[in-house]
Amino acid sequence: MGIRFVPFFIAIVTTFSAGAAFAASPIKIGGLFAVTGPAAFLGEPERNTAKMVVDEINKAGGVKGHKLELVVYDTSGDATKAVQLATKLIKDDHVTAIIGPSTTGESMAVIPVAEREQVPLISCAAGIKITEPVKKWVFKTAQNDTLAVGRIYEYLQKNKQSKVAILTVSDGFGASGREQLKAQAAKYGISIVSDDTYGPKDTDMTAQLTKIRGSKAQAIICWGTNPGPALIAKNVRQLGIKTPLFMSHGVSSKKFIELAGEAAVGIKLPSGKVIVADMLPASDHQKRSLMAFVRDYQRHYQAEGDHFGGHAWDAVMLLKNAIEHGADSSATIREQLENTHGFAGIGGVFSYSAQDHAGLNKDAFVLVEVRKNGWAIVK
C-alpha cells in the first residue's frame, strides 16, 4: 500500500517544486545552422525546427520552471564563420549549450572551441569523425554512414547477393560512403566487383553504368545526394539494366522521387524513419516522437518535416531531457546527456555513454523501397 503511494508523492513534490521554481533563471541555448549557402538544405529546416520546439516548450511552461532561450546564428556553411560565431555564443551570449553546426566540416572546426570553453555541443552533422574518438563535450544526433551501409549489406546478405558494384559521388559524402562500403564488405561476405565514381555536376553516367552492366554485379549501390542519383536512376532505366539498384540515405526525400520520376520505382535505400512515420507499427518506440514532429512541422511551416529538421528536434529534446533530470549548468547538462538512455527521438533511439557520443545503432535506419505511390518499408 505504502509503496504504491511513493510515485504519487514524488509526483506531487515535483509538481510543487516545479511551481516554486517557476521564477528559475532561463537557460540559454545557442544554435549554429547553415541557413544560407550550399548547405542551406540542412540548415534551414534545422533552424525552423529548433525554433519551433523551443517555442512549444516555453508555451508549455518551460522545463522544470526554466524557460529556454534560443540564440541562432547563420554560419552560411563556412567553418571560419562557425568558429567565430561559436566563440560569440559562449563569450557574449553566455549560452549553456550549443546545437549545431549543420555540416561535418564546421563541426570539426568548432569542436576545439567547445572543448576549451567546456560547453556541451550537440552537432547536427553526420560525419563519424565528430564523435570518434569521443570528445568530452561533443555529442551528435545525425546517424553515421556506417549504419546505413550496414542496413544495405545486411539485406544483400539475407538475399544471398554477394557481388556488388559501387558508384559514388566524388565529394565528401560520397568519399565517406565509399570508404564505409569497402571497409564493411568483408564482414558481410560481400565482394566489390566494380568501383566507380562520378562528379557532383556530371550530367550523364551511362558510361560508368555500361561498364557495370558488363560486370558480374548482383546489385548496384550508388552513394550521393541529389541530383546525381536521380540521373543514375534514369540512366539505369535507359540502359535497361535489371540489376537491383540501391541508393544511400542521402536521397531519402520526396525530391528524389520528383526528379527521377518513373525511374525511381523499385529502388531501395536506407532511410531515417521520418518519411515513413505513418507506416510504422504502433509498437515502434519512435512512433510518438515522429508523429509529433511531423504534425508540428506541418502546422508551423506548411511543409513536410525531414531528417535534417529531425536532427535539430533530437538535439533540443535531448537537452530538455537532460534539464528534466536536474541539469541546469554546462557541466551538469553534459553529465546528464551522457547518461541519456533509451531516448526515442527522430533519428533513432539514443543511448549515450562515456564511450559513445553518437548514441545510435542500425535500427535507426529502415530499408525503404520506392513504389508508384510513394515509400514502402522493406521487411
Binding site: 566507380d196 550530367t203 550523364d204 551511362t206 558510361a207 552492366r213 534514369k234 532505366r237 526528379l259
Partner: protein, 306 residues
C-alpha cells in the same frame, strides 16, 4: 574448346556493345557542347572576345522553360519558344547594358565583364528560382530504344536532330543572307566592313542575340536528360568553350566536330579508363590544343573563321 570459343566471341560482342553505348552517349553530350561552342565562336568572330556568360544562357534556357511550364502552366510546345525569346532578350540586354557602354573596349575588359555578367545572371537565377534541381518532362516519352545492343532515349534523337537543324540554319544564315554575310565581313575585318557601310555595332548585337538563342536551345533540349538548376551553366559553358577551341573558333562544322570529339572521348575515357578522369580529359585536350595547335584541330595556320 568450342565453349571457350563461344565465350570469347560473346565477350567480344559485349565489348563492342559497350563501346557502341559509350559512343552514343558521347555523341549526344557532344552535340550539346557543339551548340554551346558555336555560340562562343559567333561572338568571338564578331567582337574578338570570349563570352564567358555563354553557359548562363544554357541555364536560362532550361530554367525559363521550367518557369513557363510550371508557373505559367503553358504546354511544352509553347514554353520552349517563350523561353528562347526571353533568353534572346536577355542576350540583347546584356550586350546593350554591359558590353556596348564600355568606354575602352579592350578585350581583357570585355572578357572580365562577361565573367561578371555570368555571376550576376547566375545569382539572379538563384534568387528567382531557388537552389533546387528541377526535372523537365521529355519531349516525346522516355521508353528506351535499342540499337544494336546499345540503348538510347527518344530525347537523344531530338538532341541530334535539333543540333543538325540548327547547324543547317546557321550555315544558311551565314552564307545566303545579307545579315549573315555582313557578320562574316565583320569577322574578317571590322574596319573594312564599317567602311563599306555595314553597321558593325548592330552586327555585334546580332551576334549576342544569336548566341543566346543557340545557348538556350542547347539548355532546353538537354534539360529532360540532365535536369536543370541555377548553376548548370558553369560546367557546360566550359565544355562548350573546349569544343570551340578544338574547332579553332569557327562557327561552322569544325566546332561541331570538336564538340562531338570531346563528348565521345569523355564518354570512352569514363568507360574504359576511369570515371574519375572524365572532366580532366576535356581540359587536357583544351591545354594540348592551345599548346600545340592554337588554330584548332582543323585550322590552317592563318585560320579562316566562320
Amino acid at each position: 574448346m568450342k565453349v571457350r570459343e563461344f565465350l570469347c566471341k560473346k565477350r567480344k560482342i559485349m565489348q563492342l556493345e559497350q563501346i557502341l553505348q559509350y559512343t552514343f552517349s558521347g555523341l549526344s553530350t557532344g552535340a550539346i557542347y557543339a551548340l554551346i561552342g558555336i555560340g562562343f565562336s559567333i561572338i568571338f568572330n564578331a567582337t574578338g572576345i570570349i563570352n564567358f556568360a555563354q553557359g548562363e544562357f544554357v541555364m536560362l534556357g532550361g530554367m525559363l522553360t521550367l518557369f513557363f511550364l510550371e508557373v505559367l502552366k503553358l504546354p511544352l510546345w509553347a514554353a520552349i519558344p517563350c523561353a528562347v525569346a526571353v533568353s534572346a532578350l536577355a542576350g540583347l540586354l546584356f550586350e546593350r547594358l554591359a558590353i556596348r557602354p564600355l568606354r575602352q573596349p579592350t578585350p581583357i575588359n570585355l572578357v572580365i565583364i562577361t565573367i561578371a555578367g555570368s555571376i550576376l545572371i547566375r545569382g539572379l537565377a538563384m534568387l528567382l528560382w531557388g537552389k533546387d534541381t528541377h526535372a523537365i518532362p521529355p519531349f516525346t516519352g522516355d521508353e528506351p530504344i535499342s540499337i544494336a545492343g546499345a540503348t538510347i532515349l527518344p530525347q537523344h534523337i531530338w538532341i541530334l536532330a535539333i543540333t543538325l537543324l540548327i547547324i543547317a540554319v546557321n550555315k544558311f544564315f551565314f552564307f545566303h543572307t545579307i545579315s549573315g554575310k555582313a557578320m562574316r565581313a565583320c569577322s574578317y575585318n571590322r574596319r573594312a566592313a564599317g567602311l563599306v557601310g555595314i553597321d558593325v555595332r548592330r552586327m555585334v548585337l546580332f551576334s549576342f542575340v544569336i548566341s543566346s538563342v543557340l545557348g538556350s536551345l542547347a539548355g532546353i533540349i538537354v534539360a529532360p536528360l540532365t535536369m536543370t538548376a541555377y548553376d548548370v551553366g558553369i560546367m557546360l559553358g566550359l565544355k562548350g568553350f573546349c569544343a570551340a577551341i578544338i574547332g579553332g573558333m569557327s562557327s561552322g562544322m569544325a566546332t561541331v566536330v570538336g564538340g562531338l570529339i570531346l563528348g565521345v572521348l569523355e564518354s570512352l575515357g569514363a568507360g574504359l579508363i576511369s570515371s574519375g578522369y572524365k572532366d580532366a580529359i576535356a581540359f587536357i585536350i583544351l591545354l594540348l590544343i592551345l599548346f600545340i595547335r592554337p588554330q584548332g584541330l582543323f585550322g590552317k595556320a592563318e585560320s579562316e573563321r566562320v
